[in-house]
Amino acid sequence: MTASLRLRAAVVSIVLLAVFLGAWHLATRSTGTAANMSPEYAKLMGMTATQGKSAMPGPLDVGAKLWEHLKRPFYDNGPNDKGLGIQLAFSLGRVMLGYLIAVAIAIPLGFLIGMSPLMSKALDPFIQIMKPISPLAWMPLALYTIKDSSLSAIFVIFICSVWPMLINTAFGVASVRKEWINVARTLEVGNVRRAFTVILPAAAPTILTGMRISIGIAWLVIVAAEMLVGGTGIGYFVWNEWNNLSITNVIIAILLIGVVGMVLDQILARVSRLVTFPE
C-alpha cells in the first residue's frame, strides 16, 4: 500500500516536472522570435551583443550550462570568475562558521534559560525583540562595527540562526517531564550528570527541531548577505551573473541553492530521527 503510494507519488512528480520543463521550453522558444526582428532594433535592445544570452534561456540551455559547471566546479580565473563549487564552498564555510558559533552559544544559554524560571522571564523581552529582526537590518551595523565584510556575513548568519535554537532549547529543557527529573532526583544523580543523562536526551528532539529551523534560516540569509558584502559565495555569484545578464547562470545558481538547502535540511532531519524516542 505505502509502496504503491510512493510509486504513484513519484510518477506524479515526474509528470509535473515534465509538464513544467515542457511549458518552460515552449515559452522560451517563442521569445526566439526576437531573432526575427530588425537587426537595428535588435542592436538597440542589446541582444545580439550577447548572442541572445540575456533572453530567457530554455531548459536545454540551462542543462547544457549546468553540465559545463558540473564538469569544472573548482576552476578559479580571478575574483569574478570562479567555479560554482568554489562559490558554494565559500558560502557553506560562512554558514557553518556562523551556525556553529550560534549552536555553541544557543544550546548552553538555552539550558540556562530553560532551567531557571528567573532567567527565562528576564531574558524573554530581549529574545522577543531580537527574534523578528530581519537579517539584513543587522548588516550595516555589522559592517560598521566589525569592518571586515566576510566576518560581517558570518555575524549576520550567527545572529539570525541563534534565536530558533535558543528558544527551542529553552522550551525543550523547561518542559522535560517532571517524573523523569524525579527519577534522577531519587537516584541522587548530580546536576551535571542529570543534565547529560536526563535533560539533554529528553530535550534533544525539540533542540534538533530548532537546529533544523536555524540551518534553513542561515542558508536563506547567506545568499542575501553575500549579495551585499560581495567578493565570494553563491549569493555574490547570483548578483554578479545578474550584472553579466547571464540568466542561465542565475537559474543554475537558484537550482543549486535549493539543492544545497535541501541537503542541509535532510542531514539535520536524519540526526533528528536518531535522537527522537517514541513514548
Binding site: 523523569w180 524525579n182 532526583r185 541522587e188 517514541p278
Partner: protein, 300 residues
C-alpha cells in the same frame, strides 16, 4: 512508641491558587523499622502526595518527616520509589533504565558488573528476553515491572511504592507480590505502599492505614494485620480473621471514608486509633458505619 524509624510529624499540603485547597493537614504517622505499611484511600485523597513527601520529592507546607532521626531534606538513594506513572526514561531500554539506577548507586562499578546486576533483577520480575526493548514497546504491566526491578535493584532501606501492581494481571501480580514480599522480608525493608486492592494489602501489610476522602483528608485508623507473618497467598481466605479484616476495610472504603470526619469530631490526628481485628469468626458485612462489635478501637 519510641522506636519509630520513619515518623511523619504533622505534615500538611496546601495548594494556593484562586481557590486554595488543603489536601491534608496535621498528619501524623510512625513506622517501625522493617514494617510493611499499606495505605488505602479513595482516588485523589492525597496518597501520592504523602508518598512524594516521604521520598523527598515534594515539600510539605507544614511539618516534617523524620527518618532514622534525621529530617528529610530531599530525595535519597536509601529511599527507592516505584512511581504510579512508571516514570521510565523512554530513550533507554529496559536494561538501560535499570542500569541507570544501579550505576547511580554504585558509581565505581564497571559496565559488565552493572549489566549483570541489572539482568538479575530484570529476570526476577519476569522480563528476561525483553531487556533490549524500549518502554514504548512494553505493555503497562511490563513497564510497571521495570519500575519494580529498578527500585529493587538498588537495595534501598525504604521502599515507597505507588500502586506498583495495579496494571498487572492476577497471575503476574501474584508472582510479583510474592517476590517483592520475599525481598522486603529478606532485606528488612521498611515499606510504604499505596494500593487500592484490599487483598493485596492484607497479604503484604503489617499495618493498613485507612485514609478518608479529601480535601482535608485524615488518617482514620491504623488496622493491624492479625494474620501470621508467614502467611501464604493462597491460604489467606482460610484464616479465621480474614473476612472480618476484609469487611472492616471495605466497609470503611464504601461508607465510612466519606462521613468519618463529620462523625468523629474528637478524632485526634496525633493519636490515630489502632484497630485490632479481634473476632475469631467471620463477620457478615457490618450494617452500621462503625461496628461496635467486630473491630475494637484501641487508642494508643
Amino acid at each position: 512508641m519510641t522506636d519509630k524509624f520513619i515518623s511523619i510529624e504533622g505534615i500538611a499540603k496546601r495548594y494556593d491558587g484562586a481557590r486554595s485547597t488543603t489536601i491534608f493537614e496535621n498528619l501524623w504517622l510512625g513506622m517501625a523499622r522493617g514494617e510493611f505499611v499499606c495505605v488505602i484511600g479513595h482516588s485523589g485523597c492525597g496518597k501520592t502526595t504523602v508518598l512524594n513527601i516521604l521520598a523527598g520529592l515534594d515539600v510539605p507546607s507544614e511539618g516534617a518527616v523524620i527518618v532514622d532521626g534525621q529530617a528529610i531534606e530531599g530525595p535519597s538513594l536509601d529511599r527507592a520509589v516505584i512511581f504510579q506513572s512508571h516514570a521510565l526514561l523512554p530513550w533507554r531500554t529496559v536494561l538501560g533504565n535499570v542500569a541507570y539506577a544501579i550505576s547511580s548507586k554504585w558509581r565505581r562499578w564497571d559496565r559488565a558488573k552493572v549489566k549483570a546486576h541489572a539482568l538479575k533483577y530484570i529476570e526476577l520480575v519476569g522480563l528476561a528476553g525483553s531487556e533490549h526493548k524500549r518502554p514504548s514497546e512494553l505493555s503497562g504491566g511490563m513497564k510497571q515491572r521495570v519500575g519494580i526491578a529498578r527500585a529493587l535493584s538498588i537495595t534501598p532501606k525504604i521502599m515507597l511504592m505507588d500502586e506498583p501492581f495495579s496494571a498487572l494481571d492476577a497471575l503476574t501480580r501474584g508472582t510479583l507480590q510474592d517476590e517483592v514480599r520475599r525481598i522486603c522480608v529478606e532485606t528488612g525493608q521498611t515499606v510504604f505502599m499505596i494500593t487500592h486492592d484490599v487483598d493485596e494489602a492484607i497479604y503484604l501489610a503489617d499495618k493498613i492505614v485507612l485514609m478518608t476522602n479529601g480535601p482535608g483528608a485524615v488518617l482514620a485508623e491504623i488496622v493491624e494485620n492479625p494474620l501470621p507473618k508467614d502467611r501464604l497467598r493462597g491460604d489467606l481466605h482460610r484464616h479465621p480473621l480474614y473476612y472480618a479484616l476484609r469487611n472492616h476495610i471495605i466497609d470503611f472504603l464504601v461508607s465510612r471514608s466519606k462521613i468519618f470526619t463529620a462523625e468523629t469530631p474528637d478524632h485526634d490526628p496525633r493519636k490515630v486509633p489502632v484497630v485490632k481485628i479481634g473476632r475469631t469468626e467471620p463477620t457478615i458485612v457490618a450494617s452500621k458505619p462503625v461496628d461496635s462489635d467486630a473491630p475494637q478501637a484501641v487508642a494508643r
